[in-house]
């Protein structure tokens, strides 16, 4: 955005100082306040602040990806949990001390560039090794895997944070998608919009996030994938908006427990969710 949304704006999206524009800013993103290992609770956002890191909005933000950041921010704050937000551009270092990392969608060329720069940077891999939560949609989902299809369908190496491999399918999947989440995760049915041409397969350690009811997903009747605290999905853009249960799962992975919301506070979200699920009833198969 030309005017940042971030409540606590740590990483600068638009460098204002021309001097800053020339060089990658060392340690841009989350300032490390010289404290000990920063887990939940460190930083300036309060005693239990969650650190949200939006990775490369300059490359991976095609259609409403900011929604995931805003929903996590809102649902944490409604529960009295402080939030720090860092928007980290591709010419900045990815901090390793965030709690939840968000990766959005992107066209072929930006996707390849993002994968290359993230691999060279190493911050995201470091964060995962520290136990951070990673939520990746669409192009971001493919990037966290071992490989994906480039502009001409050629294989491009991913970050290998999760053992999935993506390629190009025969045709584009565009439309509403509904899918039932792996019961082990205790999250309600997914509803969203997909717009991609990817097909994704999983290694033995990785479980599908959900089973497709309507739509395309991974191309084999499953949708998305998760392993450890890395979650990926083909629901594009603001996937967490209509799936507050998934947003809460990510927050819970950080905080351990999460108080219930006052029903009034999520009345509209649940109405929207209900409307979308009713408009696209799951025609089994």
């Amino acid at each position: 955005m030309s005017e940042g949304h971030g409540r606590h704006r740590l990483g600068s999206r638009i460098p204002q100082d021309p001097g800053q524009q020339r060089l990658p800013v060392p340690g841009a993103g989350l300032p490390v306040p010289g404290a000990g290992p920063p887990g939940p609770g460190a930083g300036s956002g309060g005693p239990s602040a969650i650190r949200l890191v939006w990775v490369y909005p300059d490359l991976l933000s095609t259609y409403g990806d900011r929604g995931n950041l805003l929903m996590l921010d809102r649902r944490a704050r409604l529960r009295g949990i402080g939030v720090e937000i860092a928007e980290v551009n591709s010419d900045q270092r990815v901090p390793v001390d965030g709690d939840i990392y968000l990766l959005g969608g992107g066209e072929d060329l930006p996707q390849i560039l993002a994968a290359r720069r993230l691999a060279a940077d190493g911050g995201l891999t470091g964060a995962m090794n520290r136990g951070a939560v990673i939520f990746a949609v669409c192009a971001g989902y493919q990037i966290v895997g071992t490989e994906f299809g480039g502009a001409e369908g050629e294989p491009v190496p991913g970050l290998g944070l999760i053992d999935i491999s993506s390629g190009r399918g025969d045709r584009r999947g565009v439309g509403e998608i509904t899918a039932d989440v792996d019961p082990a995760l205790g999250v309600e049915r997914l509803t969203g919009f997909e717009n991609h041409q990817g097909v994704t397969s999983r290694g033995p350690e990785v479980r599908p996030l959900a089973t497709v009811l309507t739509g395309v997903g991974n191309g084999d009747g499953t949708e998305g994938a998760y392993c450890g605290r890395v979650v990926g999905t083909y629901l594009h853009g603001p996937a967490l908006v209509r799936n507050p249960g998934l947003a809460d799962m990510l927050l819970r992975w950080v905080t351990g427990s999460l108080p219930a919301l006052d029903p009034q506070q999520e009345d509209l979200v649940l109405k929207l969710r209900g409307e979308r699920l009713a408009a696209h009833p799951a025609s089994a198969g």
């Binding site: 955005m1 030309s2 005017e3 949304h5 638009i14 021309p18 524009q21 020339r22 300059d58 490359l59 933000s61 095609t62 259609y63 409403g64 990806d65 900011r66 929604g67 805003l70 929903m71 809102r74 551009n89 591709s90 010419d91 066209e107 072929d108 060329l109 930006p110 390849i112 560039l113 565009v174 439309g175 509403e176 919009f193 717009n195 594009h236 853009g237 603001p238 908006v241 509209l268 979200v269 109405k271 929207l272 409307e275």
Partner: protein, 421 residues
């Protein structure tokens, strides 16, 4: 391209094409009489079925100007037509935004004797139209995210434009140098007039379209840190409300149409008028007469409230619409649909920054009002959901209200309020 045309173009068409335009014209009249749309497309559809190369036949012997870009096509088409009307010639134009092949065919068939044609063209359809019409001028306004479920991704669009324009030696491209994607798309065209028309929305041009590296911005200037790609030298400049022409002379625009986006459209229109020999002062005079464009910017009285209608179809368009809102406390009605022409996917709502509506009276309507409501809630904007324009007018108790709606929501509101162009 031939600049002379036969005295009456109608009889230069082959028999089957003549039949196709006649049958199509009748269908257009029937469609209007039946109250189904403005009749500008149905005739073209039927004509094309009879004669698939009708567009190329109808364009033959005319000087065609094509206008494309994500936002501002309809308004710029209208402004160019206004500027060129000072030449006193008949002009064919798809003034109501029907910008696919059938709409273009209908516009040309309706004006068989017009030697000039000003046609807005859907972004993805530009390469085919350029080829079919051998356009004399192509106008490239801007490129940003829009209706991703049915439109091509914009870097891909820019690549297609670039390839098509590189192979149009007789065509003059008039391009916005302030939009890096547009500049790159026009970068291999043999004849380009660069216009500094400004760029309000930056979120689709952080990276170099040529090599993908970060683009550096320094005031108006932009350049790639890695490759040689940079903002081309411009010959027309928009500075505040002033236009500086290629001779360096500055004049005030003073348009009735509101907002910076329309000033940008106007500068581009002046550059086009210049190609056809219309003087800048004369053209500005014509542009100043334009009050509304296909219902946009129109003010309509409703139960004692003046409603001003603004159309916004994508994040960049919403940014521009929010820019021109009357200052608080003027209440605002927002309406969003997600029919096919709008894009079925409402994700883009999350790319719009609604926080500046905080503290205003805001009403939310349209078929996807819940999507909009959740979006506003996340930006901590207070609002009230309404079922109709009238409900908003009754609740607002205000002498005026600003209305921003996306495509089909806008058309629905116009239908309720009574169409005025």
């Amino acid at each position: 391209m031939s600049t002379s045309s036969p005295p009456s173009r109608r009889y230069s068409l082959p028999l089957r094409a003549r039949l196709a335009t006649t049958v199509g014209g009748a269908a257009g009249r029937a469609s209007r009489l039946a109250g189904r749309g403005d009749g500008s497309v149905i005739g073209g559809v039927i004509g094309l079925r009879l004669k698939p190369d009708l567009l190329s036949l109808l364009a033959r012997g005319r000087q065609v100007i094509l206008v494309t870009g994500t936002n501002g096509k309809t308004t710029t088409t209208r402004l160019i037509t206004a500027g060129l009307s000072t030449l006193g010639q008949q002009i064919a134009s798809n003034a109501f935004g029907a910008n696919m092949e059938a709409g273009l065919v209908a516009a040309l068939a309706k004006a068989p004797d017009a030697t000039l044609a000003v046609l807005e063209v859907d972004e993805s359809y530009l390469p085919a139209t350029l080829k079919a019409t051998s356009a004399r001028v192509v106008v490239l306004l801007n490129l940003s995210r829009d209706q991703m479920d049915r439109a091509a991704e914009i870097w891909m669009l820019a690549r297609r434009w670039r390839a098509a324009l590189a192979q149009a030696p007789d065509c003059r491209v008039i391009a916005n140098a302030d939009d890096p994607l547009v500049a790159w798309a026009a970068g291999q065209a043999p004849q380009v007039t660069w216009v500094a028309a400004g760029q309000r929305w930056h979120d689709d041009s952080w990276c170099c379209p040529n090599c993908g590296s970060h683009l550096r911005r320094d005031g108006e200037d932009w350049y790639c840190g890695e490759c040689a790609n940079r903002r081309p030298p411009v010959s027309w400049v928009l500075a505040e409300d002033e236009v500086i022409d290629p001779t360096g002379r500055s004049r005030t625009l003073d348009l009735i149409l509101p907002g910076r986006a329309n000033q940008s459209n106007a500068v581009v229109a002046l550059a086009v008028a210049d190609v056809f020999g219309v003087g800048v002062s004369q053209a500005i005079g014509a542009l100043q007469q334009v009050r509304s464009v296909a219902g946009r910017y129109t003010t309509i009285e409703r139960h004692g409230c003046s409603l001003r209608l603004l159309l916004a179809k994508n994040p960049a368009g919403w940014l521009e619409a929010l820019d021109v809102l009357a200052p608080p406390p003027a209440p605002v009605l927002l309406a969003v649909n997600a029919q096919v022409p709008d894009g079925r996917d409402t994700s883009w709502l999350w790319d719009v920054d609604y926080r500046r509506l905080r503290g205003r009276q805001v009403f939310v309507a349209g078929e996807r009002k819940l999507d909009l409501a959740v979006r506003l809630e996340a930006d901590e904007v207070a609002f009230r959901i309404v079922g109709s324009v009238d409900e908003a007018v009754a609740a607002a108790r205000s002498p005026s209200m600003e209305v921003i709606a996306n495509y089909t929501a806008f058309q629905q509101i116009r239908t309720v309020l009574g169409r005025t162009d």
